[in-house]
């Protein structure tokens, strides 16, 4: 359940950045290859925001797809899991996207 720690860090960073304003929405990128479960994060987000300037805020989750390039044949492929096999049989992959865990923006009132 590291999602609770992640949610608390999101709220901490966001409330500090908001400078005392009330936060209505936090947009967060959680790539599909990131070791964070969106459902668990949403659940923890409500706990982490309670009693803060972000209480009641919407957590907008954006989920960049997993993309990788095969080191053997240089082709690009989609990854749904943090590993995969290229059509050429290659398993040595460079990740291009999908491992994001980033606060994109806040909406404050």
């Amino acid at each position: 359940m590291h999602e609770l720690g992640v949610a608390m860090e999101v709220v901490e960073v966001a409330t500090r950045r908001a400078g005392g304003a009330h936060i209505r929405r936090i947009a967060l990128e959680v790539g599909v290859l990131t070791a964070v479960l969106p459902d668990a994060l949403s659940f923890c987000f409500d706990l982490a925001t309670a009693g803060t300037k972000a209480e009641g805020a919407e957590l907008e989750l954006r989920t960049p797809p997993g993309r990788a390039r095969c080191r053997d044949c240089s082709r690009e492929l989609r990854l749904e899991r943090p590993f995969g096999r290229c059509d050429c049989g290659g398993i040595d992959l460079d990740w291009l996207s999908g491992d994001e865990l980033r606060i994109v923006e806040l909406e404050v009132v």
Binding site: M1, H2, V6, V13, R17, A21, A35, F83, I91, V104
Partner: protein
């Protein structure tokens, strides 16, 4: 002054202080303060564009930053830290005990022991001959860079020491948190099943070395080493894997060599610094 980021905090004495610069920074301009890897969280709300504040900030940046300070703290002293990760019961503590005994009391190994509760494991590695600091995380499921910073100060290892950080027994959460270690050693044991790297890919993907422990049990359990190595290759194609029995001693010489090779450049750096 911190050489990594020039942030002005004297890490010799206050490694565990968070870099909370938000209080004293006022800026008159309206752009976002992104300094690449080392944005220190100038979290004033002066970049409000309408009601949207753009951050584009990694959630774990604060931990990553502190980890980088730990790494710098270690390297300045000619120290190497290895983060030992595994499920509960894979044999991290047994492996450490035996590595320490092979070190023959030369005191070159010190241990930061992470558990949710009790100092039983710290007692075990002390009994084997190493200095140890126990970290209890309570309900926490992983160690983070700040906890390790405090433990390093308390441990105050001599130059040339190998600092073994035994993480919480958990194959999921510790994968996300850089502690400032130079290498991450992922341990698993044969009774856990050969497909474990595919089930817990993050931990194995981040490993610098994988140790397959309890190989003395191979005759008694169904475990296909070839299949295991194939699973491991899929998540981490380049990683080396040592087959070890911590209790019987198989593979420990190779592990000692790997650890010694890791320590050699750091010792040289520490001596010349």
């Amino acid at each position: 002054m911190c050489a990594t980021c020039g942030c002005g905090i004297d890490h010799e004495h206050s490694l565990d202080e968070l870099h909370d610069h938000s209080g004293g920074h006022e800026h008159d301009h309206d752009h976002d303060h992104d300094h690449g890897d080392h944005d220190h969280g100038h979290e004033s709300a002066d970049s409000v564009d309408g009601r949207i504040i753009t951050l584009e900030q990694d959630v774990l940046r604060r931990n990553d930053h502190l980890a980088q300070h730990n790494r710098e703290w270690l390297s300045r002293r000619g120290l190497v830290a290895v983060n030992f990760v595994s499920s509960p019961g894979s044999g991290k503590t047994s492996l450490l005990e035996n590595v320490i005994r092979r070190d023959e009391g030369r005191g070159r190994i010190a241990v930061i022991q992470g558990d949710q509760a009790t100092d039983r494991d710290a007692e075990r590695v002390r009994a084997a001959g190493a200095r140890a600091v126990q970290l209890n995380t309570g309900t926490g499921c992983h160690l983070d860079a700040q906890m390790v910073a405090r433990a390093l100060e308390e441990l105050a290892p001599e130059p040339g020491t190998l600092v073994a950080i035994e993480n919480i027994g958990n194959l999921v959460c510790p994968a996300l948190f850089d502690l400032g270690e130079q290498a991450r050693l992922a341990l698993m044991s044969v009774p856990e099943g050969a497909d474990k790297p595919l089930k817990y890919p993050y931990m194995f993907r981040g490993a610098s070395l994988v140790v397959l422990n309890k190989i003395d049990l191979l005759p008694h359990v169904e475990f296909d080493v070839g299949f295991f190595r194939d699973c491991l290759r899929q998540v981490n194609p380049d990683v080396s894997c040592l087959e070890v029995s911590a209790t019987r001693g198989d593979g420990l010489s190779e592990l000692m060599e790997w650890l010694a090779a890791l320590c050699a450049p750091a010792s040289a750096e520490g001596e010349t610094a």
